[in-house]
């Protein structure tokens, strides 16, 4: 290795060693931690209520994803609007959580993703809530919306991935102390935090990364109930109020409904309902996707899919004698739902006629979709493709129209030129109707690539749905690349080797790999270079299945 390369490696390592301690913070840049103990022993963990029920083997297994940190006073654990893949358990000290604490100047200093060029990110129209009022958006998102209005006139077409309100209303705060858990819901669901958390005194906090949290939730019924209970108490009400179905219902009714609702989760491919079986529940999707299919000849056709906020069961419960479930529903990935019994459902529609109208609208749409799919198998095929190829999951998918693409590779070259000569995607992938769905990062709504990163190098960027990799923190373990279902993360050889003081020790002397992926050029001040540098205008960023479908329709018309 040349002396220059060696020096570069040493400097990278110095930076990495410094940052290594920060992987347990939310942003990787903050350093409020004064002391950290990684991989605590089962005995140490079992001192705390949260871990008491687990056996040694299990605790040993999840311990790499747990740390005990001592935070100094006035340190920011995470900020409102950021994505955090950690849950926090307070051992000692006090943590203040509050909403609406960021100043405008602070926000404007940060890179704002220019969605105006792609139309991929669509911002919900939200009004700034008054202090004490239920929270609809977040301060950060409102600020970003203001920013985006400047770069794009049609702001109504822009929508941010939804965030939700909490019981800490705008301008208010709450204090958490020993035994309290927070951050777990955002971490588990992959949504941005709606509050800022700040230490009020020196605190000792157990930090649990998502992989460990998921395993703990699966293993322990009590913990699952506890997390569900916290979720119900803190978020469900706000989430219900945010869905069209329950928007008009009064507070008292929603409170009572919330208590009777059951939270259920399903793993990928697990059946939720079976066509023909008695239907006694109304389901609403909290996160993930549900595939709806119907028998058709000897097989079945996929009629549609449900995403966050959509309901299942209204056809059966409203019409009544449908002979059980009209659809076979199964989860496409890890999916969280709430279910409401027939009795509660009947009370809901009796007390709130607007809800009944909405459910009828939804039922009619569902029946129409079913009929359409039966008449038009291509539509069913499209829905299946959208589910199989992850189009439902992505928030910004790079699609190339192959009827116009001259294979000049300017998109890839532009990507490389923007990112230090390392292209972050290849012009390959699946085809649908002569549209190439490239292997560029989809920026999934539920990014599985975040799971298991040992250093926290891969994370949600500060704004929007962008998932990014911090090269200085990446140790090239390939976990994210292996997790990505769409092969959108590639490993790049830097030509350096890890020096002998490297942590973890296993890497010492080995070649240094870095994971790379598309970050939508969000930190460059311009939109995705692949799109703006396509000379034939045949590269598109698609933000939803509907956008993809309209692209397909346009092509068919042409």
């Amino acid at each position: 290795m040349t002396p220059e390369k060696m020096a570069a490696a040493e400097s990278t390592i110095a930076m990495r060693l410094e940052q290594f301690q920060d992987r347990w913070t939310s942003t990787g840049a903050n350093s409020g931690i004064t002391q950290i103990k990684e991989k605590p022993t089962p005995a140490q963990l079992r001192q705390y209520e949260l871990f008491k029920e687990f056996d040694d083997t299990f605790l040993e297994k999840i311990s790499p994803d747990i740390s005990i940190a001592r935070w100094q006073k006035d340190a920011i654990l995470f900020e409102e609007g950021t994505y955090v893949d950690l849950a926090f358990y307070v051992i000692s000290g006090q943590v203040k959580v509050y909403s609406g604490g960021q100043t405008e100047e602070k926000i404007l200093d940060k890179p704002i993703f220019d969605a105006g060029r792609t139309g991929a990110i669509i911002l919900e129209k939200t009004e700034k809530p008054k202090a004490g009022a239920p929270l609809q958006g977040t301060v950060l998102l409102n600020m970003v919306e203001d920013q985006l209005k400047k770069v794009r006139q049609k702001s109504s077409e822009i929508k941010f991935l939804a965030t939700i309100g909490v019981n800490v209303a705008f301008g208010n705060e709450a204090t958490l102390s020993s035994g309290d858990v927070f951050g777990e819901i955002g971490a588990l669901i992959g949504w941005p935090q709606v509050v800022t958390a700040k230490t009020m005194s020196e605190c000792e906090i157990i930090q649990i990364r998502v992989p460990a949290l998921r395993q703990m939730k699966r293993k322990s019924e009590a913990l699952k109930n506890r997390i569900d209970k916290i979720y119900k108490e803190r978020l469900l009400l706000a989430q219900l109020r945010g869905t069209p179905l329950f928007q008009k219902c009064d507070q008292n009714f929603l409170q009572s409904l919330k208590d009777r609702m059951e939270l259920v989760s399903f793993e990928s491919g697990e059946p939720i309902t079976a066509e023909g079986e008695p239907a006694e529940w109304l389901y609403m999707v909290r996160s993930g996707f549900v595939r709806l299919a119907q028998k058709f000849g000897s097989g079945e056709i996929v009629t549609t899919y449900l995403s966050k906020g959509m309901t299942l069961g209204e056809v059966e419960l409203l019409i009544g004698h449908t002979g059980g479930w009209v659809f076979t529903a199964s989860s496409v990935e890890h999916t969280e739902l709430v279910k409401i019994s027939r009795t509660d459902f009947e009370e809901l529609i009796r007390r709130f006629p607007p809800a009944e109208k909405l459910l009828w609208d939804s039922a009619v749409t569902r029946i129409k979709e079913s009929g359409y799919s039966r008449r038009n198998i291509q539509h069913s095929e499209f829905v299946s493709t959208a589910l199989e190829q992850g189009l439902v999951e992505g928030s910004s998918i790079l699609v190339i129209d192959l009827d116009e693409c001259t294979r000049c590779d300017d998109c890839v070259r532009a990507c490389a030129a923007t990112h230090d000569d390392i292209p972050r995607f290849v012009r390959e992938g699946n085809k649908y109707n002569n549209l190439l769905i490239t292997r560029a990062c989809y920026h999934c709504q539920d990014p599985v690539c975040l799971i298991g990163c040992p250093t926290g190098a891969i994370r949600r960027a500060r704004v929007g749905s962008v998932v990014e990799i911090l090269p200085d923190l990446c140790i090239g373990c390939k976990t994210c690349a292996n997790n990505c279902p769409y092969d959108a993360i590639t490993m790049f050889e830097t030509g350096q080797t890890w020096p002998n003081n490297m942590i973890p020790e296993g890497l010492r002397g080995k070649p240094r790999l870095v994971a790379t992926k598309c970050n939508l050029c969000y930190d460059t001040g311009h939109g995705p270079a692949c799109v703006s540098n396509c000379p034939h205008g045949c590269a598109y960023r698609v933000g939803s299945v509907e956008q993809f479908q309209s692209l397909v329709s346009k092509k068919k018309e042409a």
Partner: protein, 274 residues
């Protein structure tokens, strides 16, 4: 509808309007006065043609400075390409107006005239190729592959085919050696793909369907696998054949454009210095 034929109707209509404007202007001038390359009218057309030529040439610089162009927000490549295409065509018209549709008198001017025509015509041929070939490629091929990866994929496919054949009965082995092995060796240029992108592949694999009826069930599966690999290889050939002109065409356009640029500079120097 015009939008069925051109990517951006707005640019097209602007081009038509400008063309009509210059032609009508020329006709009006021609009625009342004479146009020669050296008089006021001829020089005016010549200067506009030169400015247009420089503007058109900037597209090449835009393509080679992607990072800076994106950073400076100099517009989408697509807009630049439209300027390049329509501006380039307009340049040729203005060149004819500049020379008043007369043929050149000196060798130097012949070169200027000939290279201008060559550059614009080769550019239009490129546009035609870029319209036709992508549609051919996407019309029937199931795989999409980058030119630089074709060799690698063909090698991989050959390895797979040989592994499949190694465990097959003599009938398949013989058939492979006699009919397919040579095709699997390397990417092959097959002009037939220009004529019919599906015909070449279907004809080639039809023999396999015939052979299949004489084989046992397991061997039929092996032949199916072999057919799949062979189809994939033939699709690679289709990409290899069709993507080649998309790249080679530029060789006929770009270097000549650079020579023309130099000659135009010399022409300007000669005209204004002397």
């Amino acid at each position: 509808m015009i939008s069925d034929f051109v990517k951006s109707p707005r640019w097209f209509w602007m081009f038509v309007f400008t063309t009509v404007f210059f032609v009508v202007s020329y006709a009006a001038i021609w009625i009342f006065d004479e146009v020669t390359p050296g008089n006021f009218w001829g020089l005016t057309f010549g200067i506009i043609a030169t400015v247009l030529f420089v503007a058109v040439a900037l597209y090449g610089i835009r393509r080679r400075t992607m990072k800076t162009s994106s950073k400076l927000k100099l517009g989408n490549s697509n807009t630049w390409l439209q300027i390049h295409l329509y501006g380039g065509t307009l340049f040729l018209l203005l060149m004819f107006l500049h020379t008043a549709f007369r043929l050149p008198q000196s060798a130097f001017n012949w070169w200027l005239w000939f290279l201008s025509v060559w550059v614009v015509v080769s550019g239009l041929v490129g546009v035609l190729l870029q319209k036709v070939i992508p549609q051919l490629l996407s019309s029937a091929l199931t795989i999409e592959i980058r030119t630089d990866r074709i060799d690698e994929l063909v090698n991989e496919l050959r390895g797979q085919a040989e592994a499949e054949v190694a465990h097959s009965p003599a009938a398949i082995r013989d058939y492979y050696q006699r009919t397919i092995a040579a095709d699997m060796a390397k990417p092959i240029l097959r002009p037939a793909f220009f004529k019919d992108i599906t015909g070449g592949i279907q004809t080639k694999v039809r023999q396999m369907d015939y052979l299949k009826q004489f084989l046992a069930d397991d061997d039929q599966k092996r032949l199916d696998n072999l057919e799949m690999i062979y189809r994939c290889k033939l699709e690679c050939d289709a990409h290899y054949t069709l993507q080649k002109p998309l790249r080679l065409w530029l060789m006929a356009h770009l270097p000549v454009s650079i020579v023309l640029f130099t000659l135009v500079l010399m022409h300007l120097f000669i005209v204004f210095y002397y």
